[in-house]
């Protein structure tokens, strides 16, 4: 009984922290309409900042607390509102989601860069020197008591603010209709700012309260948020009392699982994965109109031509050949991951780009592909590759079933929960038997992955594997492009634009969604198998949720609707990190930070960088003489590099400069088309400012 009470006390104090973080999430969502994926990361940064002030620089605790909660957290909240959220306010839910994912990645990278993750940073609980309070048979430490009291006080204060004051009502009104809120004498901007400041402050309180109980680790603290997500989803992202209830359920469940779960190899992971599992169940169990997501402003999906996609495929293979001939053996290993990651990124295109379903677990699915191939294709059996794809496709179809009920941020949440369940529990399982089939994941360590046996030719060297991945990426790109042009692709776009309209036109939502999930999971599985071959040994860490986020971000930056996103993501993910890897180990965090920053720049081109690049390079592509010149220069550079005649960097620089110069030249040479009737202004030729004037004069004259 005493033991039970002890677990209950621990559970209640954990629940209190989850409640604080969860209410912060609810406040931001209910008052800005943004689901902040980086909410936990903000709490994590606050905990680090608090450590730095109170322990690192030895400030008095109250001063450090006041500085973090009253200066740093509000400043961060205002920064997020001004720099990140305001530009995407008018865009859809997906763009806002990407912003917060970028912020999450950025926060983790920043924390790792500033605070070396290999140093232990203990934080003492509050009032640790005082004896524990005794409430009958239960002992409650002061820290636990403070945590619970803070949670209750915050809950009461927030409820009053949101439901009993005009400022709170203004905050909620601004989400519903910003323009109308302005007409009723409210200042929507002030309401949004207040919401962000409050939300980040709550995250900071939660982060500081929980940090002494767990290790001060960037990733772990940021992912604590999964438990808070679960609490918030219990409250349907709106209700504070229900969020509290959710926090209680999660906190107590974790404590009891820790106490009473039998000790064996299979179940410890379950305890870690329990909040994520519960989140998944909560998403499924709460039928709610708002769970289906709201306002989407679909970005147009470009229609790739046959010629264009073949050209892309050719470019991919050619690029691989260039790499193989130019790079040294050990560089090939690290650069080689470019193509498999490209395949994984390509799996976002049919799912997120065409169908508008955001999945954050593609890399985890790729992990399954890598494991299946690693075990079944240990001796290079080629049949294991399609089997790996089929297994991952089946997993994808499995995800699709719950996904039918969810869309928008809720789907993103559900898939994130799935990824967390996979990497905290499933991937850590030792081998077990199901219906006579032996199932092994990462053998609680690493799995060795070898290259395939291509009809008697065993592919083992890095260059062979690189070319194989490139060919696979090329084929997959052509396949995805063909999908977009075909009947199924049109159906996917129809489904994205309006599920209701699609269903009323006789489309079967279940079948189509399952098919596209399975398809993209299959592509991701192929990418995972190739990634494994390139890495030679894989561990579960390489396929976790956090590792997958940058890939998703870069794919979004490239443009989820474009087939070239695969190649773009591979290049953008691998090249900068490799090019700068000579500079030191901190480069990894900096490149992660760069990715996050680029994601935050998304607001300036929501349809993707690729579309923009395409528009910039198109004149050169149409200009035959200049194009031939460029190809000639590139060919000569390649030849010189391959023969090792000149410095590779110099040649790369020459090639780049030539390409840019020729692009400018081609753009200048392109004659602006004349004789376009006014109806086509802005469509056939760019809209000019003086056109408005001309048109309005014409209408006045006419009417």
């Amino acid at each position: 009984m005493d033991q039970f009470l002890a677990f209950t006390v621990v559970g209640l104090s954990t629940a209190a922290v989850y409640a604080v973080i969860g209410t912060g999430l609810v406040v931001t969502h209910a008052t800005t309409g943004v689901f902040n994926f980086a909410h936990g990361a903000a709490g994590m940064l606050s905990a680090f900042a608090y450590w730095q002030l109170a322990v690192g620089w030895g400030w008095p605790v109250p001063l450090a607390l006041a500085f973090v909660l009253l200066v740093l957290a509000p400043a961060f909240g205002l920064f997020v509102e001004r720099v990140l959220m305001r530009p995407v306010q008018a865009l859809g839910e997906a763009e806002r989601l990407v912003m917060t994912v970028a912020l999450l990645t950025g926060c983790i990278a920043l924390a790792r860069w500033v605070w070396d993750p290999n140093t232990a940073r203990p934080l003492t609980p509050f009032l640790a020197d005082r004896p524990a309070l005794r409430l009958g048979p239960a002992a409650v430490t002061w820290h636990q008591a403070i945590t619970m009291a803070v949670a209750l006080a915050i809950a009461a204060a927030l409820w009053v603010l949101l439901h009993r004051t005009r400022a709170g009502t203004e905050m909620r009104a601004s989400v519903d209709d910003r323009a109308l809120a302005g007409l009723t004498g409210a200042d929507p901007l002030r309401a949004t700012r207040l919401a962000w400041v409050l939300g980040i402050q709550l995250a900071a309180v939660g982060g500081i309260l929980i940090a002494p109980a767990v290790a001060l680790d960037a990733q772990q603290l940021s992912l604590l948020i999964v438990s808070a997500y679960t609490a918030a989803v219990f409250g349907r992202l709106r209700s504070l009392p229900l969020t509290f209830l959710g926090a209680l359920v999660v906190g107590l469940l974790e404590a009891y699982l820790a106490g009473y779960l039998p000790q064996n190899d299979y179940l410890p992971g379950l305890r870690l994965a329990a909040p994520a599992l519960l989140l998944f169940l909560a998403l499924l169990a709460f039928p709610h109109r708002r769970l289906r997501g709201r306002d989407r402003t679909p970005v147009r999906v470009p229609l790739p031509t046959v010629r264009g996609s073949l050209l892309l495929a050719g470019t991919v293979v050619l690029f691989a050949l260039v790499l193989v001939t130019v790079l040294a053996e050990d560089d090939l290993l690290s650069y080689g991951t470019l193509f498999p990651l490209g395949v994984i990124a390509l799996s976002f295109v049919p799912l997120a780009g065409y169908t508008g379903q955001i999945s954050l677990c593609q890399l985890s699915i790729a992990g399954i592909g890598a494991v299946v191939w690693g075990h079944l294709g240990a001796h290079g059996e080629l049949w294991a590759l399609p089997v790996a794809m089929l297994v991952t496709a089946a997993v994808g179809a499995l995800i699709a079933l719950p996904a039918l009920r969810l869309s928008g941020i809720y789907l993103a949440l559900g898939t994130a929960a799935f990824a967390v369940v996979l990497d905290r529990w499933i991937f850590t399982l030792p081998a077990f038997d199901v219906l006579g089939v032996r199932i092994t994941f990462f053998d609680q360590g690493s799995v060795t992955v070898s290259g395939p046996d291509l009809f008697g030719l065993r592919l083992t060297s890095p260059s062979q594997l690189l070319v194989l991945s490139a060919v696979c990426l090329a084929l997959a790109s052509v396949g995805v492009a063909a999908l977009r042009r075909g009947r199924f692709g049109r159906r996917l776009i129809a489904l994205r634009d309006s599920e209701a309209a699609y269903a009323t036109l006789g489309g079967r939502l279940l079948v189509t969604k399952t098919a596209v999930f399975a398809l993209s999971a299959g592509i991701a599985g192929l990418g995972g198998a190739l990634y494994g071959m390139q890495l030679q040994t894989v561990t579960a860490d390489q396929f976790n949720l956090i590792a997958g986020l940058p890939i998703f971000l870069i794919a979004v930056i490239g443009g989820l609707g474009a087939v070239g996103t695969g190649l773009f993501t591979g290049i953008a993910f691998v090249l900068p990190a490799q090019l700068m890897s000579g500079l030191g180990s901190w480069v990894h965090d900096v490149t992660a930070l760069l990715v996050a920053l680029a994601g935050m720049g998304l607001a300036h081109s929501p349809s993707g960088v690729l579309a923009q690049m395409r528009a910039e390079w198109a004149p050169l592509g149409r200009n035959r003489p200049l194009l031939c010149g460029l190809l000639g220069v590139l060919g000569v550079c390649w030849l010189l590099a391959a023969l090792d005649v000149a410095n590779g960097w110099l040649l790369l620089a020459i090639a780049l400069v030539t390409a840019l110069l020729l692009r400018v030249r081609a753009a200048a040479a392109q004659r602006p088309p004349t004789d376009i009737p006014p109806e086509w202004w802005g469509v056939r030729r760019p809209w000019r400012s003086e056109d408005g004037e001309v048109l309005s004069r014409a209408t006045i004259a006419a009417g």
Binding site: H163, R166, T169, E170, R172, A173, V175, D176, D177, A179, L180, A181, G182, L183, T184, G185, A186, D187, W687, S689, D691, G692, L695, S696, T699, I700, G703
Partner: protein
């Protein structure tokens, strides 16, 4: 009081590069209902947005009680007594009826007073005070939106397409109420496509087409002939 309460003087306005209003003059006096009629795309809603400060005019002046109010933030115009009930449902769908009413406290009345006035005028809202406004029927939502016109004591009430999506009986009822509000000394400018309903209560009517006021005067039989020619597009 002498002179009109709300006056639009040579208003020109554009959406992007396209000019929608080409110099509109319109005045609304205290206690009068002015109906602004016109076909689709005439610029009626834009004109109301200009009057509420939501859409900045590219030329012309907005006068409020004789004083220049051009370029004032809609929030401050609202506090100065200009109340726009926008097209569609001018309510916050996810806020309860009570919270919607709470948003109307900006003129200084307490929340309790506002609820009392609103429920006295619209008893049906009182029975649904805890319900999210989005779950009310169309007519009830318009009543809630119109409640703003009563409880905030506006000097100028701007109504955009009050009849949209409502049954004719409900529309007639709502316009009776608008006439009532006007009798208390409010200047009311009503934009409406459904001319018959509003003309019963209007003291003055203006027909807007192609961004200009093409006709204005007392709404009598001559207007009907004019109207059909503008709606049906006979030569001008």
């Amino acid at each position: 009081m002498s002179g009109p309460l709300l006056e639009l003087d040579g208003i020109r306005a554009a959406h992007g590069g396209i000019t929608v209003l080409h110099g509109v003059n319109l005045a609304v006096e205290e206690g009068r209902v002015v109906a602004l009629l016109g076909p689709n795309g005439a610029g009626k809603t834009t004109l109301l947005s200009v009057a509420a400060g939501v859409h900045p005019p590219s030329a012309g002046r907005l006068l409020l009680g004789g004083r220049d109010a051009t370029g004032i933030h809609p929030r401050d115009l609202a506090r100065a007594g200009v109340c726009l009930v926008p097209q569609g449902r001018g309510v916050f769908p996810n806020l309860s009826v009570r919270d919607n009413l709470r948003m109307m406290t900006f003129t200084g009345r307490t929340h309790e007073e506002i609820e009392e006035i609103a429920y006295a005028r619209f008893p049906v809202l009182g029975t649904r005070r805890a319900q999210p406004a989005g779950t009310l029927s169309g007519g009830e939502q318009q009543m809630l939106a119109l409640a703003r016109g009563i409880v905030t004591d506006p000097a100028v009430l701007l109504l955009d397409e009050l009849s949209m999506g409502l049954a004719p009986l409900v529309v007639a009822e709502l316009y009776e109420l608008v006439a009532d509000i006007a009798r208390q000394g409010v200047a009311v400018l009503v934009v409406e496509q459904f001319a018959a309903a509003v003309l019963k209560i209007a003291d003055h009517a203006a027909v807007l087409a192609r961004g200009r006021v093409q006709w204005q005067g007392h709404p009598d039989s001559s207007l009907h002939a004019e109207l059909s020619s503008y709606y049906l597009g006979s030569p001008i």
